[in-house]
Amino acid sequence: MNLGDLAPQDLTRRLRGPGVMLRTGPFVSRIWTDMPIMERGLSLLYADYPVEDDRGFADFHVSVMRPRSLRRWFQPQAQLLYDHQALFEPLPLDQALPMFEWGMNWAVGTMANQFLILHAATLERNGRVVIMPAPPGSGKSTLCAGLACRGWRLMSDEMALITLDDGLVVPLARPVSLKNKSIEVMTRFAPDAVFSEPAEETHKGTVALMRAPRDSVARKRDPARPAWIVFPNYLPGAETSLAPRSKAATFMEMGENAFNYSVHGRRGFDVLAGILDSCACYDFRYSDLDHAVQVFSSLASEA
């Protein structure tokens, strides 16, 4: 059963009672909220995700609640709790949904040490995965959303989960977080895509979440082998260009920005080195999303 199949009253009952057991990729999260804005957001973005038995085992325990302070009467806020403990300072009410996503990232990034977790978007086509690590502002999420709407399977927007045994990428398709101008770019690029209400004045500016394509969500159990590492860089007015980059430098950049490279010691080194062995590494500059997607298509069709 998927979240979208629950009757609205049943969803509310679960969110305020035993929690909704939401499966995203390899994880089940127990989610509580007493906020209608969160309930609407979950129904919009997570309708295609399986809901499991609430008597089962959950990997993570996340709630978004109205803080019990006087302030809630004149300036409504949302507070993220992990297993009953406040994770961040409360934020304005309309940021509840992005904050929930940050909380889910936090849970994976701090606890899922059964994986090597790289800070990167990952997409798959014809059984091969492109890993896109990049700092904020590089246009990584825009490109990731663009590819996900043009035949690439979305595997992750923020965190690439790598198995330690065989160096495969495990899918964790969740909503793609888009910021500022890229929200408008994407609504034009993919008129059929579904977006959450933009949350304004977050510490990242305006943030909206794009629902992950249904096929990507459905293929939650298909891992795939990485074939390319591409560092995107959005540069207004730039010609599209794909240039090879140093593997050793790529290793260092990915290791430094990974969530838990150091946790795994020699094993982490071996797994990451194995990925570098099997991947072609590129710097990618773009300004036009359509053209960018074409370049990726030709990459995927190469033998």
């Binding site: 297993d83 009953h84 403990q85 994770l87 909380g103 040490n113 904020p136 510490h203 990242k204």
Partner: protein, 373 residues
């Protein structure tokens, strides 16, 4: 009154207890274990008992994940000690490793599956200025926000200098000159500890305390210092230490009791034996229990009070194991720990200040920015 479900302690006591757990129990056990810093230790206990395969896959991944983290910290502790050793070599000062670092460097089971905070070491008091100087030259720094009150508090009322953090590795080291506060009502002679200490294998400048002293130090730390966030973990350290030492040395228990009396630490040892046995089922021979009970005349009322406080303070550090009474118990034990170290006339203003500083905003919650892009 029924206390809420503590699933963690029974598993630490007897790993086969996992056989009766359902999925919903694992859901709670994993959280209790993580919050108490004991999930890696649960992994270690289950692996030793050959029971890992009986753990359902989803919770088992959490045990393995936390074990990876514990193994990383185990390596980090070894490296930090190596850095300390290299940087202090010029001084010729012997380094006495305490607590977690000692367990790791001597390969004790209490060093495995454990999360570490600081590296604790002890040097002779007279060597403190030299050690402090060498460490600051090698990149260790005092907290820049340390105010003169805190600095004064550490140096006057505790048995260590303020914690030092390395500016590159961000690791933290606590340099002690004895194992209980200098002014504490329990007076421990640091020289006696150093004289009995043993060299770490293959090293000329690293030492660890003798087995009995290691247990006594860990016991003093747990029962006199009033910090219980990691109380259950520290109790399992004691359980593992004593079980290992008793297996290696038939005379261990009598040596332990004799040493406690020599160092005037019978009371913490009494609590250690009592609560290890009550909570974790540690096998303590009757003779040792009788000897220590005789040395610590405790009235029924006192014993009742201490049982009440410690059995609450030593529950898993998780909201499911907290009651209104456990908050009170923790506060009472905290006040007690200060009373053991400071005269009452000095204690009252200190606690006043602590309570006042406690309302400052922010430590528990992080800024959202660290986890997003």
């Amino acid at each position: 009154m029924d206390l809420p479900a503590d699933l963690l302690t029974p598993v630490l006591r007897d790993p086969t207890a996992i056989r009766s757990l359902r999925d919903a129990d694992w859901d709670l056990l994993v959280r209790q274990g993580r919050e108490s810093g004991l999930l890696g230790r649960v992994h270690h206990r289950l692996a030793e008992a050959g029971l890992l395969d009986s753990v359902p896959e989803a919770p088992r991944r959490h045990l393995e994940a936390e074990w990876s983290l514990a193994e990383k910290q185990w390596r980090d502790v070894r490296w930090e000690v190596e850095c300390l050793r290299r940087n202090l070599a010029v001084t010729g000062v012997p380094i006495f490793l305490l607590k977690g670092a000692a367990y790791v460097l001597t390969g004790l089971p209490s060093g495995r599956g454990r999360l570490f905070g600081d590296v604790d070491l002890m040097v002779p008091r007279t060597a403190l200025p030299e050690v402090e100087k060498e460490l600051t030259l090698a990149g260790w720094r005092f907290d820049p926000d340390l105010d003169p009150y805190d600095d004064h508090y550490y140096r006057t009322w505790t048995h260590q200098i303020p914690p030092l953090t390395h500016f590159l590795r961000h690791t933290c080291v606590d340099v002690h000159h004895t194992i209980v506060p200098e002014t504490a009502r329990v007076d421990v002679n640091a020289k006696k500890l150093r004289d009995a200490a043993r060299a770490v294998d293959g090293s000329e400048d690293l030492y660890v305390l003798a087995p009995a002293d290691m247990v006594l130090h860990s016991a003093v730390h747990l029962f006199n210092e009033g910090q219980f966030e990691r109380g259950l973990r520290d109790l399992t350290d004691l359980d593992l230490l004593m079980s290992r030492f008793a297996a290696e040395d038939a005379e261990f228990w009598s040596r332990l009791v004799a040493r406690a009396s020599e160092l005037d630490l019978q009371r913490p040892l009494f609590y250690c034996l009592r609560y290890c046995r009550l909570i974790l089922g540690t096998e303590v021979p009757e003779q040792a229990r009788r000897d220590i009970a005789r040395a610590v005349p405790v009235g029924g009322g006192h014993r009742w009070l201490m049982d009440l406080l410690f059995t609450r303070a030593l529950r898993p550090h998780h909201h499911s194991c907290r009651t209104a009474a456990s908050g009170a118990a923790l506060w009472l034990l905290y006040v007690r720990s200060h009373y053991l170290r400071m005269p009452l006339r000095l204690l009252l203003p200190h606690l006043w200040r602590k309570a006042f500083r406690g309302i400052k905003k922010g430590d528990a919650t992080a800024d959202v920015e660290g986890y997003t892009t």
